[in-house]
């Protein structure tokens, strides 16, 4: 961990005023970066997340218009400034954000809402999994792989165990068992990159990404060669019996959403929050994330904390995989959706706070469910959500951008001369404004920053 050649001369406090000494050396960049994220106040962080979201929506707006020019259609879906576009961004966003809730006035428990909530449930697990690791100063990009192995382990083990019990008792026994197996398998898979980081100094970003590829391939092999459902042409395991899956409470059984699983997920978020904020393990975890050297000085076994955090993170992701199997699909199929990668966005958007993960997961549940509505209702490719995901991460990662705009708006407002700053501020908040300005503002602001140097 601290095997670097220089002793700890971290002067993290110095960078709050924007003047990091160039000689600031020593440890890996991750903890310092995360610390910068953590230090921002909760309100500021929420503002940054909302601004990032709006900015992504604005860029997505331009993207949809641009895509609408690249494709061909008989009648224009919308017209701006006398130019016809094949896709109408307003319709797309309407379907994306409101379509996800279905028609609530006629049916409070409609299928689309159920889909939104079931996506949210799985994303709560992957989001909090990423959050735990990030708080410990570890970039766990391997949530996807941990989810995949957890899902497969849970599907296979629960199928085997379902032959031993049945009925209501069976459900009561099988669900905790399935979750535990998912957590165990995911935890072990998460512990591997943890141990590699702690004891061999292998960069966890790379190892976890590699392990994602490995997990997909190994799962494919295991299903094909060992657990293939003989009745099916698709690569999947034998479907679980009804009593081995989450019961649908209130919602319809065919909608694949269970309030029980949702409640379990929400309770887990609170539990992880308490674990991180209120226990000594959580204290060790947080200090390792913020100041690894200080933590070690204070008696924390850094290597063990890394492995423990990664195991916990992997276990949470694995439970997400188990819920995906036991609630949504009822067996394991290859081609698991990218819940793990969305979990990264969810966690970053939530400022790596387990409670915030709940809200961010709901937002992404809406996006995932809404993208289905968009896919059905328009010709706009569903990959749009993937682009938005990346944009949101990018914008949340640059709080300085929003701070710069914020400071200008604040510093100018009293004096009353609001020409330049207001247009800058407008690019963030105003998604309907002159869209060309958004792109210009991004390259325009930096040159202004550069001029200040003189």
């Amino acid at each position: 961990m601290s095997s670097d050649d220089t002793p700890n001369t971290e002067t993290d406090a110095a960078d709050s005023d924007g003047r990091e000494p160039g000689t600031n050396t020593g440890q890996s960049d991750a903890p310092a970066a995360i610390e910068r994220l953590v230090r921002a106040s909760a309100v500021e962080r929420a503002l940054i997340s909302v601004s990032a979201l709006l900015l992504s929506v604005a860029v997505g707006f331009v993207l949809i218009l641009a895509a609408g020019r690249m494709t061909t259609c008989s009648t224009a879906a919308t017209t701006y400034f006398g130019v016809g576009f094949c896709y109408d961004p307003v319709t797309v966003y309407d379907l994306l954000f409101l379509g996800a809730f279905g028609d609530l006035s006629s049916d409070l428990i409609n299928g689309q809402l159920a889909t939104t909530l079931s996506q949210t449930t799985v994303l709560m697990f992957t989001g909090v999994a990423v959050a735990v690791a990030f708080r410990a100063g570890i970039f766990n990009i391997g949530t996807q792989g941990q989810l995949v192995v957890g899902a497969l382990g849970s599907a296979v083990a629960t199928l085997w165990a379902s032959t031993l019990v049945s009925g209501v008792v069976g459900t009561l026994l099988l669900l905790p068992f399935g979750l535990a197996v998912g957590a165990f398998v995911g935890g072990v898979y998460g512990a591997i990159p943890g141990a590699l980081k702690a004891y061999a100094d292998a960069n966890e970003v790379i190892t976890t990404i590699m392990l994602n590829f490995v997990a997909t391939a190994v799962a494919l092999y295991l299903v094909q060669d060992h657990f293939q459902d003989p009745e099916s042409v698709a690569t999947q395991t034998v479907p679980l019996p009804e009593y081995a899956t989450f019961p649908s409470v209130i919602f319809r059984a065919r909608d694949d959403f269970s309030l029980v699983a949702f409640v379990v997920a929400a309770a887990l978020l609170v539990a992880v929050y308490l674990l991180i904020e209120r226990t000594s393990f959580g204290y060790d975890l947080r200090t390792s994330g913020i100041q690894p050297e200080a933590a070690e000085y204070g008696g924390v076994d850094a290597a063990r904390t890394v492995v423990a955090s990664m195991t916990l993170s992997g276990a949470l992701a694995g439970m997400g995989g188990a819920v995906y199997v036991l609630m949504i699909i009822g067996n394991f199929q290859t081609g698991v959706p990218a819940y793990g990668f969305d979990g990264i966005t969810v966690s970053i958007l939530a400022g790596n706070n387990p409670l915030g993960v709940g809200f961010a997961a709901l937002l992404f549940g809406v996006l995932k469910s809404g993208s289905i509505v968009v896919d059905v209702g328009t010709d706009v490719p569903p990959q749009l959500v993937g682009v938005l995901r990346g944009l949101i991460i990018l914008f949340v990662a640059m709080p300085e951008f929003f701070r710069m705009i914020g400071t200008r708006v604040w510093s100018v407002r009293p004096s009353g001369s609001g020409g330049q700053p207001v247009t800058d501020g407008g690019t963030v908040a105003d998604s309907r404004g002159d869209v060309e300005d958004d792109v210009d503002a991004e390259s325009g602001v930096p040159t202004e920053g550069g001029e200040r140097d003189e």
């Binding site: 960049d29 690249m70 061999a200 960069n203 190892t207 094909q224 640059m398």
Partner: protein
């Protein structure tokens, strides 16, 4: 700088567990090869036959191109102090951009140019976000990857109605008569222009980094930006140049990848499929030296070529999905054994000039 590190490594941890493990692996492999030479009729013999087959070298070179270009780009960026983990994303957009423009114009070379432009633009976005807005480099790099992972299939869906593009013409191999008929090494003289471009780019990168003042600035910008600043060189500008250069190089790699196949495949993790991340490992393994990065790239690409041939000829009765994991597992093992690479001192840190 680098020679100092190498010397330090050799004298310091001579018998670390990692070194022993590496040694054991090397001995085992050597044993397998010797066994194969001695008994050509055995499994090992067939394995060695594949290993020394001309087509294996040809495949290795072909597979090396995108990884080597991305690795060169990664070296410039990281040496200047900006860790560019978004190489994968740059490869993805240039792979799509290359095929799209080649499809529109009918010219492979226009495609290559478009791939470079696409990748450089995305690199510019990354540079602005990291350098101007002090974004965390790792998170921003991930975002670049995820944006490209969504954007390329999105664009393909818009233009071609599916995640995979239409097929375009590929470039013919340049065959050097005479030399190309040498057994095994003949593959070096009968390859696509991209392979020759790769060798050229490695040489040019090495020369730039070690023999030009720009190379010295890049080095200083990552090692001691303050000193560079004091010497009157604008650190920000050097970092911009280095990150943009990584975009240009990745553009070559990504466009070469798709144009040598003649199609962009955008389903799943796209046709790039982790090559950008493997590139990061190759330059770490190659200790930030372009030549070292090329050699380790060829090691990884060679493994990939080997697993492709092993699959095709069914030599070892190992299931295909497992064989496919070989390159990824190798990356993990290499990182674990040689993970303690000395990264540039100021890499990952924002530098703020003092004279504001």
């Amino acid at each position: 700088m680098s020679s100092e590190t190498v010397r330090g490594r050799l004298t310091d941890g001579e018998l670390s567990p990692q070194r022993v493990a590496g040694l054991v692996a090397a001995v085992l492999l050597a044993g397998l090869v010797l066994w194969g030479f001695a008994f050509p009729e055995t499994q090992a013999g067939r394995f060695v036959a594949i290993l020394t087959d001309r087509s294996t070298l040809a495949a290795t070179l072909r597979l090396s191109v995108p990884i080597a270009f991305a690795a060169l780009g990664g070296i410039f960026a990281e040496k200047s102090g900006v860790i560019n983990i978004g190489l994968e994303g740059l490869l993805i957009v240039s792979a799509f951009g290359g095929v799209y423009m080649a499809d529109v114009t009918g010219s492979v070379w226009m495609g290559l140019a478009a791939g470079i432009v696409a990748s450089t633009l995305l690199a510019l976005l990354f540079a602005v976000v990291c350098i101007e807005f002090r974004a965390d480099q790792i998170i921003a790099g991930l975002a670049i990857w995820l944006i490209a992972l969504g954007l390329a299939p999105f664009a393909s869906q818009v233009v071609y109605g599916g995640p995979n593009t239409a097929s375009v013409d590929t470039v013919d191999a340049i065959v050097i008569p005479g030399l190309s008929s040498i057994p095994f090494f003949g593959a070096l003289f009968s390859a696509t222009p991209f392979v020759y471009l790769m060798f050229g780019a490695v040489a040019a990168s090495w020369w730039t980094l070690n023999r030009t003042s720009f190379g010295r600035w890049v080095n200083a910008s990552g090692e001691n930006p303050k000193a560079l600043d004091t010497a009157g060189v604008n650190v920000t500008r050097v970092r911009y140049a280095a990150v943009l250069l990584s975009g240009v190089l990745c553009g070559f790699g990504g466009a070469a990848l798709s144009l040598s196949i003649g199609q962009f495949v955008g389903s799943g993790s796209t046709m790039v499929n982790g090559k950008g991340f493997i590139a990061i490992v190759t330059y770490l393994f190659g200790n930030y030296n372009p030549v070292g990065a090329l050699l380790s790239t060829m090691l990884f690409a060679g493994l990939d070529a080997l697993q492709l041939t092993l699959q095709a000829r069914d030599v070892f009765a190992v299931p295909q999905p497992l064989v496919r994991t070989i390159p990824y597992v190798t990356v993990i093992i290499v990182l674990a054994l040689f993970g303690r690479t000395r990264i540039p001192k100021a890499a990952g840190e924002h530098y703020e000039s003092g004279d504001e």
